[in-house]
Symmetry: C2
Subunit: 206 residues, 2 copies
C-alpha cells in the first residue's frame, strides 16, 4: 500500500490504473474499480458488496466474481485503486515542482480540489471513519495509505524548512478532512478557504 503513494514521491513511475498493453480483462477490472471507489466514497466500503456493484454496473454477479473472489478482495482492490488515483491526481503532478513549499502547496491544493470535485467526497475520510473500529486487512490497508499521505506531507514540510513538520502534516490532514465534512454537510465553501490558508502561510522559498 505504501508503494502507491510513496512510490510516486520517489519519482518512480506510478502504477497506472490502465497500464499500456494491458489486456481487456485488466481494463475491465480497472473500470470496475474506478466505479467502486466512487461508490465507496459515497456509500461506504462496508456496503460495497459484489451484488451492489454488479447492480450499479449492470454486470452479472458471476462476472464480478471472476475478477474478485470475495467481498474482502473487492474491498482491498478498491482501497488500492483509491490510493493509485490519489497518487495520480494529487501527488504525481506536483513532482515536477521543487520540493518543499512549491510542491507542498501544489499537493495540498490538488487534494482540496479533489475533495471539492468528487461527488462522493473524500474516499479516505469516509473509509477511515468506517473502519477505525473494524480490525482486519481492510482497516490495515486504509491505515497504511493514510500513514503514507501523512508521511508525504511531513517530508515536504521538512523540505520547506518547517520546525515541526509532523505538526504541519497533522494540521493539514485535519483541515482537509474538516473541509470535506463541512462542505458536504453544510455547503459552506469557506471551509476550503480556511484550509488553503495553511498552505498560504508556508514560508516562501528564498
Amino acid at each position: 500500500m505504501l508503494f502507491y503513494i510513496l512510490g510516486a514521491v520517489s519519482a518512480s513511475p506510478a502504477p497506472a490504473t490502465r497500464p499500456a498493453g494491458a489486456g481487456k480483462g485488466e481494463q475491465t477490472r480497472a473500470a470496475i474499480l474506478e466505479r467502486a471507489v466512487d461508490l465507496a466514497s459515497a456509500e461506504g466500503l462496508e456496503g460495497l458488496t459484489i451484488g451492489r456493484l454488479a447492480a450499479e454496473l449492470r454486470l452479472s454477479k458471476s462476472g464480478l466474481f471472476a475478477h474478485f473472489g470475495s467481498k474482502q478482495e473487492l474491498q482491498l482492490a478498491t482501497v488500492a485503486a483509491a490510493a493509485a488515483r490519489f497518487s495520480a491526481e494529487v501527488i504525481q503532478p506536483a513532482l515536477a515542482l521543487p520540493g518543499g513549499t512549491p510542491r507542498l502547496r501544489a499537493i495540498g491544493n490538488a487534494y482540496l480540489d479533489q475533495v471539492d470535485q468528487y461527488a462522493g467526497g473524500c474516499f479516505w475520510f469516509a473509509s477511515s471513519a468506517e473502519y477505525d473500529d473494524r480490525p482486519g486487512p481492510v482497516r490495515d490497508a486504509i491505515a497504511a495509505a493514510i500513514e503514507a499521505w501523512i508521511g508525504v506531507l511531513a517530508a515536504e514540510a521538512a523540505a520547506a524548512g518547517l520546525e515541526d513538520p509532523d505538526r504541519f502534516a497533522f494540521e493539514f490532514y485535519s483541515l482537509g478532512m474538516g473541509a470535506n465534512s463541512r462542505y458536504r454537510l453544510s455547503g459552506d465553501r469557506r471551509a476550503f478557504e480556511y484550509a488553503r490558508a495553511l498552505l498560504d502561510r508556508l514560508p516562501d522559498p528564498a
Copy 2:
C-alpha cells in the same frame, strides 16, 4: 436538535438523559439509547438495526420495537441521545466559567477528553462521514447537531475577542476530527497535543 446543544449554551436546564421521576419505561429507553450511541460510534449508525441492538442488549426484538417503531426512529433517537450526552459532558460543565477563552478552553478540552476516552471514538465523526451522502431525516439531524456545535465554538470565539470566530470554529472542529481519526488509526497521541495547541493560543482574558 439545535435545542440539545444550544439549549445548554443559553444556560437553561438541559434535557436530562434520565429525568427525575421518569417512569421505568423511560429509564429503560434511556439505557438502551446509551448503548446505541456507543455501538453507532464504533460500527456506524446505518448498521444500528433493532435486531443488532437487541442482540447486543440481550433483549427481545419485540421489546425494542415497543420503544422504537422503526430503524429510522431508533436512529433519530440515537442522534438525539448523542447530542444530549455531548451537551451534558462537553458543554454544560463549562457554563460555570466566564464566556470567551476560559469557557472555550474548557469546552475544547472536554471534547478532546471524550474523543480519547470513548472506546468507539467520536459519534459525530463516524456518523457525519457515514451520512453526508445519504439525504433524509437522519442526515439532517446529524447536520443540525454539528451546525450547533460549530455555532457554540464560534460564539465563544467571538466572546474571546477573536477577529474571525468562524475560522476558529472550523479549525477546532477540524483538529478535533483529525485527532479522533489519527489516534484511532495510528495510536499517535501527539494528535491531541497538536489539537490542544489551538486552545492554548487563544488570547488570555485581560
